[in-house]
Symmetry: C2
Subunit: 340 residues, 2 copies
């Protein structure tokens, strides 16, 4: 077993997801800049994992801020919060984790700074442990929605690598597999970064759960053939009306599922719900570097000078989502606000 | 300008599409085996181009069959027909071209063999010239369907590289561009073989027609944003009920177009219509080697041992197709039989 994010010898240790599956290696981030770089460059990705990483990043920052009184300590911590908050705009768990660490720090302002430092590290570990535990609950709730013998499609990676462990969408698939042992799992490869091909296929293969990898443009074909009975994906941010942002291509899968009368499930912890956001239209969509599309495996695939679009996420409207599976239970998308 | 397929110094010269866009090189096929290999390995691809290549392949075969009387000559020619027919199953133009060359040969059975050889080569050149001329007519008919300022999405490559020249879907786009000069062309990259990224983007870029490359899973996103007003694709085989087989992913684009009320056009010469086939359900779908998905740009992207599906085509039912654009005019899909 691997750890996606962990505290190790005074550093934040990440499995380097840019190297998977050909190389299993770890990076030790020894300052907040390295943590921010790890998030930006996708060494760690997936909304819950980004949140956990940011929490550890702030625990690390707290230990490196040498001030001896609260005011300057907190002021310097806020600078590090801003640095982390500027890494990626779409996943709300990043801002959620930063806010949680900030509020905790403020609540401790009368404590000795070394005690605050210890508590912040303990809190980051708690966020990690809570996340794993929530994913097991999400898995247990979600498994009830997957019939024996079903073909199940997932998009991108909402697995152990996207979370503290076990995964959200892959948590549902893991729990359903444990129950039925007869599912047929399909993973979209998920261009441009290939999280499906490189990460989901790797994770499931490690767990001896059989998976069939397909390119993103094949999902309609397999739905039409009757080989898919359920779609399960994660989310990067869910608005309070039930609209859900997730990896680019998720919206297309949801439209295809609807056209084939296949249920489409979003699995995410409630830390992914942005209760203050009215609708998915407000979710900022990150535009990433064209080189992700232009170059694959280090090889240029497109003529130089050709324009490339690279939005990293899209928003699936609530009406295309059959249910949202959280650690608090299963919700109608329109009623996700009641999970607050 | 390049030639996709041509007769050159006693050989069939192909632009090597497996090397594009990073390298523009040609292969000279000096026997039918080399022609068959060129088709199988996608050095030449695209339904019309495959048909033209097969015709040149048989012209080449005729010159290399040394028999001096018609019976053994024809018997040997049929062996070469079978070799070419076994290369790829889905595109009907392959079988159409082989049949045309066979029937012509039979009709010439009382002629001197050298005359037959010359006529077969002339016929292959005629098929090539007819194809280019049909594409210009398809372009002219289709351009009327593309409004000024439209965003136009195409999938795979149905361009000059897929035909004798000018292209079917890209013929429509070229003609519409010539008319309006203000279209926004989107090309899906078209995994696994990346015909969109490598070939369509290259062709349009060569012609100074601006194109935005997107990954296959982005098309729904841009439709929802209102940036796409028409989809135009080619076809590998159209059944007599108007169902159309084309590159994998075409069906998904058609479903997405329908969900966004965007017209979805298929552009193809009538040689792509299989008038004897009742429905698209009968069209054989080629399953290609998993390595096309597994490896990109020579680099392994998926863990070893993971199962991969690689159907190369899918079938879009007639009811999802707004119009079929042919060299004989624009047809309702359900009435394509009247193009016979």
């Amino acid at each position: 077993m691997f750890n996606t994010v962990a505290w190790k010898d005074g550093a934040v240790r990440l499995i380097d997801q840019t190297k998977l599956p050909t190389e299993v290696s770890y990076v030790d981030c020894k300052d907040v800049e390295a943590v921010a770089e790890g998030i930006k460059s996708l060494r760690v990705r997936g909304a819950p994992a980004i949140g956990i990483t940011a929490a550890f990043g702030l625990a690390l920052a707290a230990r490196q801020i040498t001030d001896s009184s609260f005011e300057p300590f907190y002021k310097n911590l806020l600078v590090q919060c801003d640095l982390l908050a500027a890494t990626r705009p779409t996943a709300v768990n990043l801002f959620w984790a930063i806010e949680r660490m900030k509020q905790l720090t403020l609540s401790l302002k009368d404590q000795a700074l070394d005690r605050i430092r210890d508590i912040l590290l303990a809190e980051a570990n708690t966020i990690l442990e809570e996340d794993i535990s929530m994913n097991h609950r999400i898995g247990a709730f979600g498994a009830d929605l997957i019939p024996s013998g079903a073909g199940v499609l997932t998009h991108c990676n909402a697995g152990a690598l996207a979370t503290g462990g076990y995964g959200t969408a892959l948590g549902v698939i893991r729990s359903a597999w444990a129950k039925h042992q007869n599912l047929k799992i399909f993973a979209d490869e998920t261009r441009p970064v290939l999280q499906g091909a490189r990460l989901t296929a790797w994770e499931l293969h490690q767990d001896d759960i059989p998976v069939t990898l397909i390119t993103d443009n094949m999902s309609g074909y397999f739905m039409k053939k009757g080989e898919i009975q359920a779609c399960v994906v994660g989310a990067d941010r869910i608005a309070s009306n039930g609209d859900a942002a997730n990896k680019i291509g998720t919206y297309s899968v949801a439209i295809l599922a609807k056209a084939h009368d296949i249920p489409f499930y979003v699995a995410a912890p409630t830390s992914t719900v942005d209760f203050d956001m009215a609708s998915g239209d407000e979710i900022p969509i990150e535009e990433r570097d064209p080189s992700e599309v232009h170059t694959i495996g280090g090889k240029e695939m497109t003529p130089k000078g050709v324009k490339i679009a690279n939005p990293a996420f899209d928003v699936t409207p609530a009406e295309l989502i059959t249910k949202i599976i959280t650690e608090k239970g299963i919700f109608e998308p329109k009623e996700i606000r009641s999970a607050r």
